[in-house]
């Protein structure tokens, strides 16, 4: 009867086999020292921490991220009136807002900071995708994780770039800041007619709750049968032993059908990626397909209407946003940077 530690002999630390692909990268270093933290064995997780691969992609990604962080810090300090401790105290309220319209901000405080930080962090996630691509190839994985990451980038780029472009103003993107991001979620939904009625949003919620449900199911199933080795999933895919058989039979008897050690991971993957893909499409559709999702729902019969609707909330097909001229609502910056 295999134990859960069977593949972790306590003595040697695992290091990746050297490969010519590693040395092809001038910045290709496995950094740090692999350490063993025995306390983790209590949690029944792997006890080795480290090493981590640096690599050119990783270095570039980290540098971009840090550059953006630096500019964020400068902008935050500026907003706190130059006082470091005020900034610390009100850090949640720091808000680097995007400019109005679609052009380059005319000053740092009126959207310049936002554009710079967002630009750096966009590059950072793209470089990270490169890192992912390269490491997956090196370790001969099929690139599922890359598609998942790219889907996540799809969603964030829709929110920060494509949707603002489509509706004609950067100001529809979230501002950079803790409370600001939270408020954006609220304000976006209020502005666009209540996103609960966006069918892609509904699909995304289905996938999100479904993901948690699937983790509950799959995690519980493996933990329940792990005494018979079901957690050695690669081995079980080749040859189902009693653990996986019991896992499959549990679900067959419960709900009439079941997955297998490999196919369950298809379910998991598609539900997880479904969340970000649906959300991305939903945000793309906002402001283009309609400017009021409740009204859209009424028009398409998916929504129980509560009463007659006024002109302002009637479903309006692509309505271009007027350029925001005049006061942006914030105190206009008097000094120029």
């Amino acid at each position: 009867m295999a134990t859960v530690f069977s593949h972790h002999p306590p003595e040697p630390l695992e290091e990746a086999e050297p490969s010519v692909l590693d040395s092809a990268d001038p910045l290709g270093i496995r950094a740090g020292r692999a350490m063993r933290i025995d306390l983790l064995a209590l949690l029944k997780v792997d006890t080795q921490i480290g090493t981590i691969w640096l690599g050119t992609w990783g270095i570039l990604s980290t540098l971009s991220f840090l550059a953006g962080l630096l500019v964020f810090y400068i902008g935050a300090l500026d907003q706190a009136g130059g006082s470091f401790w005020v900034m610390v105290r009100y850090f949640g309220n720091i808000q680097l807002a995007p400019p109005d319209g679609l052009s380059l901000a005319h000053s740092l405080r009126d959207g310049g900071y936002w554009q710079i930080v967002t630009g750096f962090w966009a590059f950072s996630v793209l470089f990270w995708a490169g890192r992912l691509w390269e490491r997956l190839a090196r370790h001969k994985w099929r690139p599922f994780l890359l598609w998942a990451w790219l889907s996540a980038i799809f969603l964030t780029s829709v929110i920060w770039v494509w949707h603002p472009l489509l509706v004609g103003s950067w100001s529809d993107a979230p501002a950079l800041g803790l409370n600001a991001d939270l408020q954006w979620a609220q304000n976006f939904s209020v502005l666009w007619g209540n996103l609960y009625y966006n069918p892609f949003h509904q699909l995304a919620i289905f996938f999100l709750f479904g993901s948690t449900m699937l983790w509950g199911m799959h995690g519980a199933t493996i933990l329940a049968t792990s005494s018979e080795g079901s957690h050695h999933e690669d081995a079980e895919i080749k040859n189902m032993t009693s653990g996986s058989q019991k896992a499959a039979l549990f679900w067959r008897w419960t709900m009439g059908f079941n997955a297998f050690p490999k196919s369950i991971h298809d379910w998991l993957w598609w539900f997880a990626v479904g969340v970000v893909l649906s959300s991305g499409i939903g945000i793309l559709a906002t402001g283009t397909m309609t400017n009021n999702w409740y009204a859209w729902g009424v028009d398409h019969g998916t929504v129980l209407q509560y009463g007659p609707m006024t002109r302002s909330s009637i479903n309006q097909h692509p309505r271009p946003m007027p350029p925001m001229t005049g006061p942006s609502g914030y105190m206009p910056a008097q000094g120029k940077i």
Partner: protein, 276 residues
């Protein structure tokens, strides 16, 4: 016993289909008359209870929707009772149907969970799955039963319908001003997003490495090596299932808390952060 993915399960299922070991038998002794299979489904005493509750519940739904007349799947609605009925029974069309369906649904969920326990006993596996399922139905119970009880009227439960439950969620959020300011909600949302991310990671890991090498130890080492290169840590094949399981547990607990405290302890989540 060798088995590839594509072979049918009936070949080994026979070995596991043993009578006995059910809760019914443990409590009442003797022979369990429901200890049979119907096709792939296990029946069991609790299976009978569950399916009966489901059938009755569907009947109530059909009658109620029929009374209202709107059969459209998106719009057909079974509303929760009006406020004036408080915690008492309501007439059928003004909440009584809702009350019946909620009771029957809860009975069927609990019975389903106990049936899962029966199956676990038969298969001699751990009880993690029914434990997780109990947490899932706890969300239903908190929303439709415990919170209305705490708030003093059944009207606090959500309408049973597509639009109805959506609008309920939206209105309940705004009833407490800004639900994003509810810290339990924020923790739950974090839990949901983390769960989705970790799910994608685990799915990608297995789908990325299965059957790339005849030796599963090599495949597993490839997994570990990749994760260590990529993020500096590989949690391991047992650990990842623990992580996912407990993330789901954490998320559900936070969700329960976020809705249970709204309206009972806190009536304005914006003010919650600066009470004075």
């Amino acid at each position: 016993m060798r088995l590839s993915m594509s072979q049918s399960m009936e070949t080994f299922e026979r070995d596991y289909k043993k009578p006995g070991n059910t809760i019914f038998q443990a409590l009442l002794g003797g022979v369990d008359p429901f200890d049979v299979w119907l096709g792939p489904f296990y029946v069991g005493f609790f299976g009978i209870v569950s399916i009966t509750a489901i059938v009755l519940g569907v009947l109530v739904i059909l009658i109620s929707v029929g009374q209202y007349g709107d059969w459209d799947l998106w719009r057909a609605n079974i509303p929760s009772p009006l406020r004036q009925y408080g915690l008492g029974p309501a007439p059928f069309l003004h909440g009584g149907a809702w009350q019946l369906v909620v009771v029957l649904a809860t009975v069927s969920f609990v019975a389903w969970g106990l049936r899962e326990v029966d199956i676990c006993r038969k298969l001699e596996m751990g009880f993690h799955i029914p434990a997780m399922f109990s947490l899932a139905i706890s969300a239903w119970v908190v929303l439709q039963i415990l919170r209305p009880l705490a708030m003093g009227c059944w009207c606090e439960g959500f309408d049973l319908s597509f639009t109805g439950h959506l609008t309920w969620v939206s209105n309940t959020g705004f009833r407490y001003m800004n639900f994003y300011d509810n810290p339990f909600h924020a923790y739950a949302v974090l839990g949901f997003f983390l769960t989705a991310m970790v799910l994608a990671m685990h799915g990608s890991a297995i789908l990325g490495t299965y059957n790339t090498d005849p030796d599963p130890n090599v495949e597993m080492r490839r997994e570990d090596s990749f994760w260590r290169d990529y993020v500096g840590y590989s949690i391991g094949e047992y650990g990842i299932h623990r992580l996912g399981f407990y993330l789901a547990v954490y998320t559900l607990i936070m969700s329960d808390l976020c809705i249970f405290t709204s309206g009972t302890l806190v009536k304005d989540w914006v003010q919650f952060w600066h009470p004075f």
